[in-house]
């Protein structure tokens, strides 16, 4: 994949949703093509090289999953984000986990969509070899699994460390609650309680209390973002 390649194919049959997707993606510096049905999606997907393809499950002609499978069969390895309005993620979509692609349920927030598209677009370039991650004055030692700020150790439970690591790896990007649940706990459902907030709250207290500046920020209605002041 070409570095800085920001070309996205959006497969969506609902005009309004497609328009909103194009708008929010273009505002964030992506070039967007839209396909309104499965066959258009196939011909576009085969003819151009995209960074990410987003596919709606319910298309007028072919099921979104089938579109993705046909693309894969013809050697297209572009990451695919499946968007499903079928309430619950079904097993076929869950099966995608292994293939490295992602899914999102409708309705979604555009911030979350962007976060996921961003993560997929980056996927192939991010082979992290470091053993220490740094954001501002926060240091994460991936070998000893310890965290510290300004040299002072922060005591974290293993799962808390994992959560912080995920936030640090996505530094400056919004991470939704569902993404946290998915990547930290390997759970694939939307929590019906505020449990993630409570959990992140505790990590935040451990990381940010009595420090020069906060690192973990709440993004209203979506999730969290870890960033150091510029």
């Amino acid at each position: 994949m070409i570095a800085g390649h920001r070309h996205i194919l959006v497969v969506e049959d609902d005009q309004e949703t497609a328009g909103q997707l194009v708008e929010s993606l273009t505002t964030n510096g992506y070039q967007v093509n839209v396909a309104v049905n499965g066959s258009d999606a196939l011909s576009l997907g085969l003819s151009a090289d995209y960074a990410v393809i987003t596919i709606d499950r319910m298309l007028p002609d072919i099921d979104g999953i089938e579109v993705m499978r046909s693309l894969r069969e013809r050697g297209i390895v572009t990451p695919v984000l499946i968007i499903s309005a079928l309430g619950e993620i079904d097993d076929r979509v869950r099966g995608l986990r292994a293939g490295g692609d992602d899914y999102l349920t409708k309705p979604f927030s555009f911030v979350e969509l962007l976060a996921r598209v961003e993560a997929l677009a980056r996927r192939s370039d991010t082979v992290i070899k470091e053993t220490v991650l740094r954001v501002g004055d926060l240091e994460l030692d991936l070998v000893s699994r310890t965290a510290s700020r300004r040299g002072r150790d922060i005591s974290l439970l293993p799962r808390e460390f994992q959560l912080l690591e995920y936030l640090v790896r996505n530094e400056g990007r919004v991470v939704s609650r569902a993404m946290l649940l998915q990547h930290v706990w390997d759970l694939h459902f939307d929590p019906t309680t505020n449990i993630i907030d409570v959990y992140v709250g505790r990590v935040r207290r451990k990381v940010d209390d009595k420090q020069a500046y906060p690192l973990i920020h709440t993004v209203r209605g979506v999730g969290y973002c870890l960033r150091a002041p510029s």
């Binding site: 309430g87 619950e88 079904d90 097993d91 869950r94 349920t105 309705p107 927030s109 439970l157 799962r159 706990w185 390997d186 759970l187 694939h188 459902f189 939307d190 929590p191 019906t192 309680t193 505020n194 449990i195 409570v198 959990y199 709250g201 505790r202 209203r220 209605g221």
Partner: protein, 486 residues
Amino acid sequence: MALGIASVHLAKTLRSSTFKLALIAIGIFGAIVLTLFSYVYLSTAYYVRGRSDSALTAEQAILQRTYDRAGRGGLIAIIQQRISDEHFQNSLYLLADPSYSFIAGNLKVWPSDLGGSEGWQNFHVQGWKADAAHQPMLRAALKTLSNGDHLLVGKDIDDLDAFTGKIKAAFIFVIALIFLLAGVASVLVTRRTVGRIEAINTTSRAIMQSGLDKRIPLRGTNDEWDRVAENLNSMLDCIETLMREVKQVTDNVAHDLRTPLARMRGRLEKAYHCRRDSEEDQALIGDTIANLDGVLRIFSSITRIAQIEAKAQRVAFRTVNIAEITRETVELYDAAAEEKGTHLSFVGDQRVCVTGDRDLIFDAVANLVDNAIKHGRAGGHVTVEVVESSDGDAIISVADDGPGIPAAEHLNVFKRFYRLERSRRTAGNGLGLSLVAAVARLHGAHIEMLDNLPGLKLRLVFPPNLVSLSQTVMQATNGGQQITKI
């Protein structure tokens, strides 16, 4: 009118498949009986005729021997003797000269239609017995003696004919009676069947037209029809209960969704009429999005429960360690417990496996723990335990020391959107336990609600899972042991 109804009934009876089956059965049975009776009749008739013929042959032989020994005179003497003997009153003798003129015997004239014939003959003779009202059937053996005389030895076989005739009549009567009774019986049986089916049909039509409150009447005979009716009735009960629950859920959904939507609408309407103020607008939009997210969460909870109940996810079942899943859940809720000052602890085995779906079990346990923290005593204890019981059940139990749930409410709390009066004001949508119940049902597990004195103890009991069960069965077959619990 009554005639009309009767003819409609009859038409229904005749069209019924039961009646057609009965007719086929009658046909087959009738053919068998007919064959059997014909065989009995024919062999009886043959036997009787054979007996009579051999007696005649013997008599003819005696007369032949007398003739051989004593000539025509001796023969006449023995014929005279026979005629006067009462034992031979049904016997027929005639000795005629070569020109068929009478010589001796109780038959006065050589029957005209037997002229010149030999061997066995059946014939009638006018007035051979004075008292005979009709001409009886006679049978005779004819023979020409060596001097040209003709000898006729015969018998009145009318009695034999009457005997076989009686048998024939009896058989015909019995067969007719069998057919008649079978016909009547099949009509009655068909009537009864058609009647019961008609009752079921009538009820079904009534249900389609006016609602689910109708039931098929029972006759109290405890027969298979009553059992069918009972089962259909209990099926209707189930459907009615489900319908009522669906309606209840719909009402609750309407209520729970309308409240936040009405709130949002009000807020937006008010803002619409006010002047734009970017800071206030921002807050308003943020709140509205949060409220909408709440509504969407209720939606996805409902579809999630529906999907679990439709067993759509069983394909994703694999062997999972519920001890690990539960420990992770407890770990996740550690922060929430800390916030409320609750002591949350996990005890029990390290490895307890069941066949199931990790996400669903996690979600169910999370709901139980969430409830225990939320409804338990602030600063109290919540203990989560996973054990494998001695009889192979895998048990997850979550216990708190809060106010508990009154025994009368135990079943209600599993209903969708059901909330105890005192919980109306705490966060939640009343879907948690119905999700737990749905997950439990999908896994073949059951939920036990116990009094923790004080507090509530909820137990999710998974029966021994299928994988380990099949292993047990194999071991048992190999070792010849008995399995006591499945």
